[in-house]
Amino acid sequence: MFLSLLIFLPLVFALVLALVPERWVRPSALLLSVLHFLFSCVLFYRFDPQKATLQLVEHASWVPTFGINYFVGVDGISFWLVLLSTFLTPLVVLGSWRSITSRVRAFHLAIFVLLTSTLGTFLAMDAILFYVFFETSLIPMYFLIGVWGGPRRLYANMKFFIYTMAGSLFMLLAIIALIFMTQEQSGTMSASILDFYHLQIPFVGNTFLSTQTLLFFAFSLAFAIKVPMFPFHTWLPDAHVEAPTPGSVILAAVMLKMGTYGFMRFVLPMFPAAVESWSWLFLLLGVVGIIYGALVAMVQPDLKKLVAYSSVSHMGYVMLGLFAFNIYGATGALYQMLNHGVSTGALFLLVGMIYEKTHTRQIGDYGGLAKVAPLFTIAFLLVTFSSIAVPLTNGFIGEFLILLGTFQSHQVFGGLAVLGVILGAVYMLWAVKRVFFGAEGKVIREHHGEGFDIGARELCVLTPFVILIFWMGLFPNDFLNWSKSSVENFVQHRGHYELNLEE
């Protein structure tokens, strides 16, 4: 019952929010989301990190004709992603206290529905159930961007929806094909991901038109768009720039992870032969994404767009780590997913906070902000350090592990990816210099910089991020131990991956 409660409690909370009086919406949303986070922390007690098995499994029949079940479970791979989602929600609610002024109730409903669908995506162990949650998550995000977004929100929104939907529909066809394959090979239809792992999918090398390769690409397309990998990333900057701050935070921190999680859960273990022969393509696109994202970020005049492109770059690392196929790469990739969630989430919140006060995101309008907003500057700098992987912060651990793994298996790509680390430092620090230091910019001259610094509420939002940045940077094992056996199992059993149910 635990996981189902975890997934569907936000939906119940949404109903509660629909009924409370208007002025109580915000406080009750905050309270409920904090409660939900605390509830999700029960996972620490219920989850056994020593086992590489699927735990807390729940199983109920849904569409037995096609072997589709309500089947949820958690393992070391999804463990942290679930906690990341529940951790961010109260912070997002608190962070949007001032910035969302219209249709407050509907806004919080969307946040909670989104939480249900993201948790469902990470916990579903049935391919169709996964697909259902994966697709449903689009709808609340669609409304978040469309209703509370910026001036070009409708264009960005449509692009976002079409891109993701196009990818995932091909995945649906691939899932159907796999379901029929389970029937051919084991006699009973099943949409369980665990049964998909057992499939022997015919593979012919050196051709595109082999069953395994086609299925591999159908799944990869869906997830590559979601990640987003170069060259499918173009929806991301648009969506991020137009989305309201909370939308950006959830989009970057949680929804992009659905893509990389999909690679880890579906693509890599299910299609080992196709992955083997096409990994060069994904490594290449990963590296191109890292460098391209960094270069484009460098020339962005808009601070939020800069962060958006930095996401493209960071997610390139995750892909690199995943396709390095060793313990360092995989661990680093998983860690980098969390890092990116924390640091980019925090960056989007920071950009949102200053935007609320100055109503501009143009880097050229700023300058000398450090003098008038010291606390804000410190917070921004700390998060920037995490984002550019300065040692002692979490970013360092993730990128280091990924580069270690990549060097071990593909030295050329590793060498190129290091360039990205340098470029990352360049664009972030350059932006920091232009915004916080130097001569006083237009914004400060006009407003005399009054009230630009962060207040108590914003401090409450940012403190957890900063704590996490250093905690994850200084004591990575506190986090990695929880997923260690799952990741080891993932790497060691490549080609014949199995995920067993808890005894």
């Binding site: 037995p64 004709t65 169709i128 697709e135 669609y142 409708l154 449509m158 939907m165 649906l172 066809l173």
Partner: protein
């Protein structure tokens, strides 16, 4: 020839008799009261009673496959399920019609009479086990619909639509009758089982029969609005009063598809001589999906948009028909088609119902402009419309998702992967136009002052019910799908 009808025959056709009695009663009362229009609510109640009794008879006759009137009518799973769908959309359409501005308040009794008789025609098609009976059924509902369209209070488009539908519909009927005559000429019978039994052999050897069979299919394709026989649909759907559009777009398609299923159950598609035609049909399906989606994309009028989208849906469901026809796991295809008919009927009737609710007068032709900012003024209507549109797009966990899921599964299982891929491409295109109304309702400010709308509690209730059904049956897709599978298992 000895003609002997037993009681059971009349019990089996009792749904149609019930509808007929219900359709005549208010008309009779009106005539007896000196041609004074009676309370429209009372008329509606008579119709409801008729429909409920008809549904009751259908449910009580459930189970064994039977035939009535010396095999002229057959009552199997397909008839059973489609009958219930037709009765549902008839009730829905009548509810809307009573509330609609396009219904002449002095002629609601006549409209009810015609609608119920159209439903009888549809039921006849579903039950028919003989091509002549099928033809009579088609003519019965078509003629009722021509008159119903023309009866609209709207003075321009509806008359054009009625005339267009009449001309093209007669043309299609003529083609179909021509086909039937060839078939009769070669088989010597219009009895469907005879025909189906003989068809694999005759298709391979007899060109006249082949011609007749193809012409028959063309006639049905016209009713289903398969490219290139689709061009009437946008004009007619737009011109007809919206409640009637909801009725036409669902009922006519449902029964025509059911009839199509009966024809493909003959294994005709597995005959080698017929393969070129199956190939052509597949191409037509692909084009139908393309034309429907691209056409819908270009429309301003929402009714026209839904009309084109319903053409696209014909394409999706026809994938299932082909999958059902080519042998192998044809059950999957047929079950998928039946499920799709059900889901499509509910979604489409609901979507047209919402448009009907929002129409401020009889001449209204709603566009995106009219929906702007609706979420603030009528949040529940906007929510229902969004759910229906999401379902039409095929976003889980709605009914529409499972409709597409079952169809695409059948296609993949039967090796029609390219059609499944094509269907997916079409669905992606459809996201554009299905989401535009959602955008308008939730994300744009109202530009026009909306007129005060007539209070229509029954219509509101019906639309809400359909919206709820879309979600509920989506979550509980299995029992519905099982019912559909068992309904086709007697035929396939």
């Amino acid at each position: 020839m000895q003609v002997a009808f037993s009681l059971i025959d009349f019990l089996l056709v009792a749904p149609a008799l019930a509808l007929f009695v219900a359709s005549c009663t208010p008309l009779l009362i009106k005539v007896l009261c000196g041609n004074q229009e009676q309370n429209s609510f009372a008329t509606l109640i008579y119709a409801y009673v008729g429909i409920v009794v008809a549904a009751g008879f259908t449910l009580s006759m459930l189970g064994v496959a039977r035939s009535a009137f010396d095999g002229a009518l057959v009552f199997d799973g397909i008839s059973f399920c489609t009958t219930l769908i037709v009765l549902l959309v008839t009730a829905v359409a009548l509810t809307f019609a009573r509330d609609s501005y396009s219904t002449n308040p002095g002629q609601f009794t006549e409209a009810t009479f015609l609608t119920l008789n159209a439903a009888i025609g549809m039921l006849t098609v579903v039950w028919a086990n003989d091509l002549i009976v099928t033809f009579v059924g088609i003519e019965l509902f078509s003629l009722s619909l021509y008159v119903l369209i023309a009866m609209s209070m709207e003075e321009k488009l509806s008359k054009e639509a009625a005339f267009k539908y009449f001309i093209l519909g007669s043309f299609a009927s003529a083609i179909m009758l021509y086909g039937i005559s060839f078939i009769y000429g070669t088989v010597g019978s219009t009895y469907l089982p005879d025909l189906l039994q003989a068809s694999p052999n005759l298709l391979a050897t007899n060109r006249l029969f082949l011609l007749g069979f193809v012409l028959l299919l063309v006639g049905i394709c016209f009713k289903i609005a398969v490219f290139p026989f689709h061009s009437w649909a946008p004009d007619v759907y737009q011109g007809a009063p919206t409640p009637l559009t909801a009725f036409m777009a669902t009922g006519v398609k449902a029964v025509s598809l059911a009839f199509f299923l009966r024809l493909v159950a003959s294994q005709a598609f597995t005959v080698e001589k017929f393969w070129p035609f199956v190939d052509v049909l597949q191409w037509l399906i692909a084009l139908t999906i393309l034309v429907g989606n691209v056409g819908a994309f270009r429309q301003k009028s929402l009714k026209r948009m839904l009309a084109y989208s319903s053409i696209a849906h014909s394409g999706y469901v026809m994938i299932g028909v082909v999958a059902a026809g080519i042998g192998g796991s044809s059950m999957l295809g047929a079950g998928g088609v039946m499920f799709y008919i059900f889901s499509y009927s509910i979604m489409t009737a609901g979507a047209f119902g919402v448009l009907h609710i929002l129409e401020p007068h009889a001449d209204a032709d709603l566009t995106l402009e009219d929906l702007k900012g609706l979420a603030r003024e009528k949040p529940w209507v906007a929510l229902t419309m969004s759910i229906l549109l999401m379902s039409l797009t095929g976003i889980p966990p709605t009914l529409g998702f499972f409709g597409k899921f079952f169809i695409f599964s059948a296609a993949i299982k039967q090796g029609l992967v390219w059609l499944a891929v094509w269907g997916v491409v079409g669905s992606v295109i459809s996201v554009f136009y299905y989401l535009r109304p959602v955008v308008a309702m939730y994300m744009e400010e109202p530009l026009l002052r909306r007129g005060v709308l007539r209070l229509r509690p029954l219509s509101y209730f019906t639309v809400a019910f359909l919206g709820l059904l879309v979600v509920a049956c989506g979550l509980a897709a299995e029992p519905v799908y099982q019912a559909m599978l068992s309904s086709v298992s007697q035929v396939f």
